[in-house]
Symmetry: C2
Subunit: 139 residues, 2 copies
DNA sequence: CCTTGACTTGAACCGCGCTTCAAGTCACAG
DNA sequence: CTGTGACTTGAAGCGCGGTTCAAGTCAAGG
């Protein structure tokens, strides 16, 4: 079984993350090492799934601290579920915003208008977006 | 006409941004003040549209520097258009990623599975997402 | 004239997510 | 036993997007 443990360098390579990032995640509680081989951390292969999860969550705008909370939450945690559902809702809004933004850019990239930035359609999509975005001061 | 100029405090209030942020944007070239009333910056009302645009772009993940480039680009700029189209494509990917994330979270929030994090469906959606996310090292 | 109070400036600081660095420690080869 | 070289640590540094701060300046009011 010790055979199946991965060296930190290997995990780094396979996950595409820097070793420093792995150590960073470890001391933030996002992942755990299985033990040491001398000084070297060794990881169970499942850590790769973890890392994929983390990368994805990061990409979706979750902070490290949030991810840690998710991962450390007590198992049968109803708060966790609520939190997840809440996040799903938030993502819904993000998606809508990005979609509008994408449409605005698409239009802008083909619209002839003299300052491009003044194109009414273009401005319009931002206006709408802004109205929905404003209430959220954070970020 | 001077009547229609807005004081920085007014712009701050209407846009929901801190005055410090307005000054920050100004010295990054994102907005321009119309002049001064004593020491006080005054802005043309159109700056509010600008700010809405900026807020939206920020929300869509553009950096301040990127936005500045967009806004300062020479008008009939074909590179600008190409850049925009490119960004639109990138947003498409982000949207797809967020959508998968949202679905993953939705599932997770109702799925009974003992470490929640180990739910196969849940993991699966991250796996797929990760595969598409990995090539992009930045961010 | 002097105060008040909102603005001005540049510079320092903050939180985030890491990376980089100096200094130390280990396994293994020769 | 001595390198070598990849790891270890904690601390410092970085880029981003601002905020905060000390010190200065102005217009208006008393």
């Amino acid at each position: 079984m010790a055979e199946s443990l991965l060296d930190i360098a290997e995990v780094a390579e396979r996950s595409g993350l820097a070793p420093s990032a792995l150590r960073f995640y470890e001391n933030r509680g996002l992942i755990a090492s299985a033990g040491r081989n001398g000084l070297r951390r060794t990881y169970r292969p499942e850590v790769l799934d973890r890392l994929a999860l983390i990368a994805c969550a990061r990409g979706a705008g979750f902070t490290i601290a949030e991810i840690a909370r998710f991962l450390l939450a007590t198992p049968d945690d109803t708060k966790l579920r609520a939190h997840m559902a809440e996040k799903a809702r938030a993502l819904e809004e993000d998606i809508a915003r990005l979609t509008r933004m994408r449409d605005g850019l698409r239009h802008a990239s083909t619209c002839m208008h003299e300052p491009l930035v003044e194109c009414p359609d273009f401005k319009h999509s931002f206006r709408r977006s802004a109205a929905l975005t404003e209430p959220s001061p954070g970020r």
